[in-house]
Symmetry: C2
Subunit: 422 residues, 2 copies
């Protein structure tokens, strides 16, 4: 008999899952290993920037008051008493009409309050002493980077939950974070179910296909920022599936299975969840593909039963698993970034339910343009490779045409969206 | 004395560098370790998809000719002689008015040419035999996925040089690539020069700053797809710098130094390149920041002298080093993706030279919007963290205003652009 299931709307499904998203945990990594990890602490300035008054140019540090009368017809001469490289400090006191040769980034001598750029000076020697002269006046503060003008000590520069990109890593270095508190990667387990599945290295056989979903999801898990743990594939054998899944649960933060969630005679996941005593949060969603996506929770741990169909599996991961992963990485925007884009092709299919179409976003003349992948069947396999977005077509709509504005979820963005999608 | 250098345009500088970009090399990794790597071979279908005629639904496989007379008032009865799960094949010959219960993905029995979905049938038993009946006719081919209809054996599905994303990995699994030929990551060495530099774990001291450029570049190298090798920092000591750089060259594919390329008295890189016998490709570019970026080649190996200024260093890497890395990863679009965006703030500074402004791209109402980072000085440090793009303002232009359309380079895209920028 065909089991009757009641489909729930996508937002309701997401909300039910997110109730059990759980919390992140922290670990310490060296700054060298921090790229791409997610901050588990705010980055705070441990000092002013600059932390001393410094010269932004190569030139001469002077007392501005000595330059007041300088002009094209009235060059003013300064004795150059010292030279300071970046990393060094002045050792002599600067008196009237004396100057210090100063390099970019070097600390200003205490008595000086302006820097004259090298190009604006004439240098010469006389009686074994060094001099330079200038032909214009400078005001106090000219060409000086003052302590704290860029950042005050104690400022929060980057917030917890942000992914560590090159700029964030530069800040970590600047402010002395040689050890960084980052979110521990949640471990996401994967079991692929189905007697039809072969391993990647196996030769094809009649009726069999190679297991691709587990490898695809594993990459989706890495892209989301978590650690995949692939347990292998399971044949359609209830007891074996039950025992394997039961044993895997304790080893992971989240468990994904692929296949076995439909209403076929070998779709064992519903019965396995029942025997485990897990609470099924939903087993039917008003969406295509992936309507049979089933999610259960056992003692607060999420068990995702994704469809065995590759498109449905892909969509199910990004909609439901990814925000759980990102929440555990302390992100405040754990959902895929939602944006508007212009449709670049006709999409004539009507949409009885919300449809997520794997698509490619590109940029043209300042606009986001979206092209559905694999519109013609001959392209359906390789279209997997080019997708970087979902086009979201609301349920209850007819087909869409080229030039229509549609919603898209951008899969390769690191920033994400809050819920409900902005 | 101030050395006179002749600035060259950015495209000329890029072209000079790219002449020495070199070629990629290959290595083999397991499919498990392939996510994020770059393909060094085309992905080719080793079989048709589907590789046998199969059922896309749970239902019954029948001979369409037997259904011709079925109608609402004329149900036609079929004897169900067998059941085929996905991964199994039929063992019995299907005769007239016989059917086979078939699961999603299972192979069609040879004699059958249509699938009746489960929902459209009535099942019952009689005298210990199973039957089902249907009330509408089916045509030959109805609900059958035919061998090769998605992809023909031998098709090129993904081309060499593409980054392995979840979809590409699914294809690798489907077509039996348990070992994948990927581009070996070029090794990019880094030396940070400057007596002012402290290690990240060191306490601040007067005149000193912590070395952040090396850590930032190291992340930029990882983002580009290469392997960073950080040699450490060097004080402003000519002989020590010369020996260290000389020894590092043989250990890397590309060597980056930061600092020492300006015209200050401690800017030793020009003299080091000379003593090494390296050919300086340019030492002045008509751009801001990073005008002093210097690139040399020694026996065809590129030596990048990036500025010690963090912004200039960041820009220099993305414009000149990144396309070299991506070329060695077999990418045909090694340069940053160029697009148009609408400026979201006034940028009143005139641009005597081409200016690359670290900025943040966001999407609003289907448009790309760009906001310069760190417009006000108080934000200049943390703006490093938020940048995901450069705004490109051509030389010889005055300030730009909110609402103006500008060029942007999008740093977090994986696709890139060909040269010259489209």
């Amino acid at each position: 008999m065909v089991e009757r299931r009641t489909p729930i709307p996508v937002p309701e499904a997401v909300s039910r899952v997110m109730e059990f998203a759980g919390k992140g945990t922290k670990e310490i990594v060296s700054i060298e290993a921090s790229y791409g990890r997610f901050l588990a602490e705010d980055v705070i300035a441990d000092h002013d920037v600059p932390h001393f008054d410094r010269s932004p140019y190569d030139g001469f540090a002077v007392r501005a008051m000595d330059t007041t009368n300088a002009g094209l017809e009235n060059p003013i001469e300064f004795e150059v008493i010292e030279e300071i490289g970046a990393g060094s400090v002045a050792t002599k006191k600067v008196e009237a009409f004396q100057a210090v040769r100063i390099m970019t980034g070097a600390a200003m001598p205490t008595e000086c309050d302006a820097v004259v750029m090298l190009e604006l000076t004439t240098e010469y020697e006389r009686d074994g002493k060094k001099y330079m002269s200038i032909k214009r006046p400078f005001k106090s503060g000219d060409n000086v980077s003052f302590q704290g003008e860029d950042t005050k000590k104690g400022s929060v520069l980057v917030e917890k939950g942000v992914s560590i990109n090159p700029g964030v890593k530069a800040l970590l270095a600047t402010f002395g974070y040689h050890q960084v508190e980052v979110a521990k990667k949640p471990v996401v387990g994967i079991y692929a179910t189905g007697t039809e599945l072969l391993d990647v290295h196996e030769e094809l056989a009649p009726g069999k296909i190679r297991n691709s979903n587990a490898y695809m999801i594993s990459a989706q898990i890495e892209r989301a920022g978590a650690e995949p743990k692939y347990f292998g594939k399971l044949p359609d054998d209830f007891e074996l599936c039950f025992e394997s899944i039961k044993n895997a649960i304790d080893e992971v933060d989240v468990l994904i299975t692929t296949g076995g969630v439909s209403v076929g005679d070998y779709d064992y996941l519903p019965a396995i969840y029942e025997k485990l005593g897990a609470e099924v949060l939903f087993n039917k969603i008003a969406m295509r593909p992936g309507s049979v996506t089933t999610v259960a929770q056992l003692h607060g741990k999420l068990l995702f039963g994704l469809s065995g169909n590759p498109s449905a599996c892909y969509v199910g991961f990004e909609l439901f698993v990814r925000p759980v992963v990102r929440t555990r990485l302390f992100s405040t925007c754990p959902h895929q970034l939602k944006a508007k884009a212009v449709l670049d092709a006709d999409f004539p299919k009507p949409n009885p339910f919300t449809r997520f179409v794997r698509s490619k976003i590109s940029f043209s003349d300042g606009k986001l343009v979206v092209t559905p992948s694999g519109l013609d069947k001959s392209n359906v396999v390789s279209s997997l490779a080019g997708a970087n977005a979902f086009m979201v077509l609301p349920g209850g709509t007819r087909g869409f045409g080229k030039g229509d504005e549609v919603d898209v979820l951008y899969l390769e963005d690191q920033e994400g969206s809050r819920w409900p999608w902005k």
